[in-house]
């Protein structure tokens, strides 16, 4: 009895495992971790340590400054307008793209991707060219006393443009992978289009939507390039949080700059956690096929 057992284990003495030798595995893991520490963890830690360098009181005072508060308020307003609009658009566009065939579908997919391929600065410039004083609609807007560029509407428009693809890009592959069998089943069973969407489609894409919204929100609050072009940097009026950080930094007010930056860093951390949970839930939903 013993002899065959010995030969058996002898044959499989780890020689046939499909993996790299231990030193190689350790080395690769170490390189990856070192890279992460150097480029991601260290800067993050630096932001917080600089922010708190002069203690809690200076930190809170820097945040409680009127210009900072107004920049936070403007950022929140911008995100509150841009994210819901892109949510509605993203859900409608991906529903149309994933569940129907129509002429111009590929063009629509390309257009959705456009903001990703254009530099944010150019995105901002587009709005200046259209709505600015020398722009196409400039004279008309001037005549009617409507201010878009160097005012809040311009910031919101530029943010909408830049964050346009996030939700649709997340939902299209998810909805395509789920197919339209369930929707067809609902229709055959007598459900209306709205009932089908609310009772069948929406629960299936719930976590995909949350994932898209959180990424869209992070970008909307953190956008610098496009907003910088259209904002005009008017303190206390058209400065968003990222723009305010830059101004404070340029004024050598490091503690305040890092204190405000820590708000964005905190947002990033929250985003990361919610994103991980949503990603995991989406994966689960796809595996439940």
């Amino acid at each position: 009895m013993a002899a065959p057992t010995t030969t058996y284990t002898g044959k499989n003495n780890g020689n046939h495992r499909i993996t790299e030798p231990a030193p190689v595995r350790w080395l690769l893991t170490a390189i990856a971790l070192a890279f992460l520490a150097l480029f991601l963890a260290l800067p993050l830690a630096a932001v917080f340590s600089q922010a708190f360098a002069k203690g809690w009181e200076t930190y809170l005072a820097a945040l409680w400054e009127p210009d900072t508060l107004s920049s936070v308020k403007l950022t929140l307003i911008t995100a509150a307008v841009a994210v819901p609009l892109n949510l509605v658009f993203g859900v409608i566009a991906s529903w149309a793209i994933a569940k129907f065939t129509f002429p111009g579908k590929n063009l629509l997919i390309t257009l959705i991707d456009l903001p990703f391929s254009v530099s944010p600065v150019i995105s901002g410039l587009i709005y200046v060219l259209i709505f600015g004083r020398q722009g196409w609609l400039g004279p008309w807007l001037d005549a009617h006393d409507i201010k878009i560029v160097f005012a809040v509407p311009g910031i919101i428009l530029a943010t909408i443009f830049v964050t346009f693809p996030f939700i649709a890009r997340e939902l299209i592959p998810l909805m395509e992978a789920q197919g339209k069998d369930e929707e067809e089943a609902a229709l055959v069973l007598g459900a209306s289009g709205l009932q089908t969407f609310l009772r069948v489609t929406l629960p299936n894409i719930k976590w995909g939507i949350i994932y898209g919204v959180i990424l869209c929100n992070a970008r909307a609050m953190g956008e610098f390039g496009a907003v910088s072009v259209v904002s005009g940097h008017i303190r206390g009026s058209t400065n968003t949080v990222p723009l305010h950080v830059e101004i404070l930094y340029n004024e050598y007010n490091y503690t305040a700059a890092f204190a405000v930056a820590s708000l964005l860093a905190l947002l990033a951390l929250v985003t990361l956690v919610v994103k991980t949970v949503a990603e995991w839930k989406v994966q689960q939903q796809l595996e439940r096929e």
Binding site: E184, A185, V188, L189, N204
Partner: protein, 340 residues
């Protein structure tokens, strides 16, 4: 409810999915649409359901033109190949869905819905599963829930798209026998799509054999099996051998013919029986459970396949490489240009 299909045509780009289909399905029958993939059978089923619109022709339910009626008003039950159960709902909510989405004035009360759902779960023998989610069921159970869900709205027509296609062989055989019994119980006009000839022969009252967007033959399982209208039907329903020959015809000289013999209609003997015996050499022997497939080559070099019962094979004691005689018991001759 009877279904009339009149001159239905459907084109997908340059591909003709259905070409002038005419078919009448009497009330209460269980009809199989049988054909290879790409024959248009699923498209026809989806057109009957209203999930696809035909380019031409009419669909008539019980004498009433329903071609332009929306899928939600057709009162059909549809069972999908991959079940299409609502993943985020329990089995109970899945089955109740069709009743829950009705407008308030025609929606049954909560207790009536509950009673109906429980009755259907009993019918598909899954009473205990009401609180489970689809992901917790086996493939066969899921398909039975899909069937219960389709029946909940009391459809006038039940349409099944390759209902057993995604299941393993044993569950498939079990489920199709069960479907036959169920149909004998509830007698709703049913159409199911399949590419499995055995399934069609076993379950259906009538078989409609389709190929390249056309109907090749429609009839009872016996009719299509015993009296195939053309070589395609013959070939699709079972393994056949081809023999090429000629018929002398006074007007045009000779016409080419093709003779078809089903592989289980071939006898193998050790000695020449009569003039129809042909000498052949055994090339290959394949044992397939209850039957044995013997591949031979005729003296002319043409390959031929015979299927014997295991008993007959053992009685003969055939060996690979042996010289034997083959004799076709039943030959069907078609005079036409047809290539398999």
């Amino acid at each position: 409810m009877s279904i009339e299909i009149e001159n239905i045509g459907k084109q997908f780009g340059s591909f003709t999915a259905l070409d002038d289909i005419n078919l009448s399905i009497p009330s209460g029958e269980l009809v199989a649409l049988l054909g290879p993939s790409g024959s248009g059978k699923t498209t026809l089923l989806r057109i009957i359901a209203g999930l696809e619109t035909p380019d031409s022709g009419r669909i008539i339910f019980n004498g009433e033109d329903t071609t332009d009626r929306h899928v939600r008003e057709r009162k059909v039950g549809f069972v999908f190949q991959h079940y299409a159960l609502f993943k985020h709902m329990t089995v109970f909510d899945n089955v109740a869905f069709g009743l829950n989405v009705r407008p308030r004035d025609s929606r049954p009360s909560k207790s009536a819905i509950k009673e109906k759902v429980m009755e259907l779960l009993r019918l598909v023998q899954l009473e205990g599963m009401a609180k489970r989610y689809p992901s917790q069921l086996s493939g066969g159970q899921r398909q039975r829930i899909a069937l219960a869900r389709a029946l909940a709205v009391e459809p006038q027509v039940l349409l099944l798209d390759e209902p057993f296609g995604a299941l393993d062989a044993q569950v498939r055989a079990e489920l199709r026998r069960w479907l036959r019994r169920l149909h004998d119980e509830i007698h709703v006009t049913s159409v199911f799509v399949t590419h499995d000839q055995e399934e069609a022969l076993e379950v259906a009252d009538r078989i409609v054999v389709m190929n390249k967007g056309r109907i090749e033959q429609a009839g009872t399982p016996d009719q299509v099996y015993e009296h195939p209208a053309n070589p395609f039907v013959l070939n699709f329903l079972g393994n056949v051998n081809l023999f090429h020959g000629r018929i002398p015809q006074p007007a045009q000289g000779e016409r080419k013919t093709v003779s078809y013999v089903r592989s289980h209609d071939i006898d193998i003997d050790r000695s020449q029986q009569d003039s129809s015996s042909l000498s052949a050499e055994i090339r290959h022997i394949q044992k397939l459970g209850p039957s044995v497939r013997v591949t031979l080559t005729l003296a002319s070099g043409e390959p031929i396949e015979a299927e014997l019962t295991r008993d007959a094979f053992q009685n003969l004691g055939l060996q690979q490489g042996e010289q034997v005689y083959v004799r076709p018991r039943q030959v069907r001759v078609f005079v036409e240009d047809y290539q398999i």
